[in-house]
């Protein structure tokens, strides 16, 4: 098991976001977490990366504990990780190619000309031309930023890649290109992927296994093929996208009086 999460809890004040998450991510597979907006999916990823300190529970990455690890251990551990942030989080003081090659230059001490070459190759994989390389993030569209973020996440060919909503803001064709790319990272490069998405088309394309996060816990987990007949009313409602069902969408207005 590449990542093994047990009893993970995280609250922000009285907002109990994660209330005992159990999740396994097998080596070389792609796991997708689905769940409503605000259910804590991004918080879950940040806990695994050690960016948010969990309140309780255990996260083992290759058998090594992340919860409560020292800053130095985390830095070493993170060399295995690539992360695409939901907001892309590009460094806006650096041109696109330096963003993409940042990991190469920082962690692997690659020389700048070579790092630039590799950045341009990676940009091509996400459908961006070399002309973009010298632009600054503020000059890009939302979807382009997302793809640069993706290129940055995969440029060092990390063992474990986290994608926080990789296809939001992309047109259908580009979404498909990105889905294929994520699939390639997993099946051809042997990476382990943990992704978050709302896009069911993307789920069916990139996932080996799917887990659904609801009300602070994983309420269903299984292979992607069984998602259509999960027998779980929450999953049913989510994948059909209906407003009525057991999931509380928080718009019940108290009856007038």
């Amino acid at each position: 098991m590449k990542i093994r999460i047990r009893g993970l809890r995280k609250s922000f004040g009285s907002n109990h976001v994660l209330q005992g998450i159990d999740l396994d991510v097998p080596q070389g597979q792609s796991v997708v977490v689905i769940g409503g907006s605000g259910s804590g999916k991004s918080v879950l990823l940040k806990c695994i990366l050690g960016l948010i300190e969990a309140d309780a529970g255990s996260i083992l990455v290759d058998g090594e504990e992340v919860v409560g690890a020292s800053a130095r251990r985390l830095t070493t551990l993170r060399t295995k990780f690539g992360m695409l942030f939901q907001s892309a989080a590009l460094f806006d003081s650096l041109p696109v190619w330096e963003n993409v090659a940042f990991g190469l230059m920082a962690a692997e001490r690659t020389e700048r000309p070579e790092a630039r070459e590799r950045a341009i190759q990676t940009l091509a994989k996400v459908g961006l031309t070399p002309a973009v390389a010298d632009q600054f993030p503020s000059e890009l569209s939302g979807g382009m930023k997302k793809r640069v973020g993706l290129a940055r996440a995969i440029c060092t060919a990390p063992e474990i890649i986290f994608f926080d909503e990789p296809t939001t803001g992309l047109d259908p064709i580009m979404s498909d290109v990105i889905n294929d790319l994520i699939r390639t990272c997993v099946s051809d490069l042997g990476a382990t992927a943990l992704s978050i998405t709302h896009d069911m088309g993307s789920v069916r394309k990139i996932a080996d296994r799917v887990a659904m996060l609801y009300d602070g816990a994983i309420i269903w987990e299984g292979p992607v093929a069984s998602i259509e007949d999960s027998g779980n009313p929450y999953v049913e409602q989510f994948i059909r996208g209906h407003a009525d069902g057991p999931i509380d969408v928080g718009q019940k207005v108290p009856a007038g009086g």
Partner: protein
């Protein structure tokens, strides 16, 4: 009943806590920074920002300060026929006090605010988190080069400000107050000692460090979007200015008592 000492105690505890957190932050940044790798590119960028781009602002402040010093000391000292002290007054006030303090305050407004805003924006847009995920220690990459840049660049800037300030005094002294050019310059250097210059530059180094530390600390810990970044910027400038004026007294006292 409210104990009148309670708010004072609470404020004291608050200040102590903040001081502790800031020291811890600085200690961590310096400790991690010396472990390397060192980011020369970042250091250079910050040095240019502090040293070069602050030159116009600091230069203007210095020249007018030098000019006004000459005028004021002339009117003051002419009352007991000591006009000849003008050049000495200008150079000593400039080099020992006004050069470092005014440059410090101007740079706090310019660079301290910019550092807080930049780091604050990086924090709220998750860029600092992104740095961590790319195995780069944000303290080492962002904070350490800024601290070093503040420490080494402000003395250089103050040196320039001193020269410009003395020049301002010279302009007024020679063209308005009727001193001879040679006489004025001789007077300027006659009573100037190495220690005057050194104490001024030591102050500048401390002020540079304070400005960078306050900018980084408040920016790094900003919370909650644009408003949080705004608050961080204000705090950075206000706290740096107060600390500069406070530190100024203690450094002066330390040099004075020798």
């Amino acid at each position: 009943m409210i104990n009148p000492l309670q708010p004072i105690g609470a404020a004291l505890i608050g200040i102590t806590q903040t001081a502790g957190r800031i020291s811890f932050f600085a200690g961590n940044a310096i400790g991690n920074g010396f472990l390397g790798p060192f980011y020369w590119r970042q250091l250079w960028r910050q040095m240019v920002e502090i040293g070069f781009y602050s030159l116009p602002v600091v230069g203007l402040t210095a020249i007018f300060t030098g000019m006004v010093l000459a005028l004021q000391s002339y009117t003051g000292f002419s009352r007991f026929e000591a006009e000849s002290a003008v050049a000495t007054i200008v150079v000593l006030s400039m080099v020992r006090e006004l050069g470092p303090v005014l440059a410090g305050l101007m740079v706090a407004g310019r660079v301290g605010a910019a550092m807080a805003a930049e780091l604050g924006t990086m924090r709220v847009t998750e860029q600092i988190d992104a740095l961590s995920t790319l195995s780069t220690d944000p303290l080492r990459y962002l904070v350490f080069p800024r601290l070093i840049a503040g420490l080494v660049t402000l003395p250089l800037l103050v040196l320039v400000a001193n020269v410009i300030g003395v020049m301002g005094g010279y302009l007024v002294g020679v063209h308005k107050l009727g001193f001879g050019p040679i006489e004025y310059l001789n007077r300027t250097f006659e009573f100037l000692e190495t220690q005057d210059v050194v104490s001024g530059l030591a102050k500048a180094a401390v002020f540079g460090f304070i400005i960078a530390l306050m900018g980084c600390y408040h920016g790094y810990h900003s919370r909650g979007g644009a408003q949080g970044v705004g608050t961080a910027t204000t705090h950075a400038v206000v706290s740096a200015s107060i600390l500069i004026l406070t530190a100024n007294y203690f450094i002066t006292e330390a040099f004075f008592s020798r």
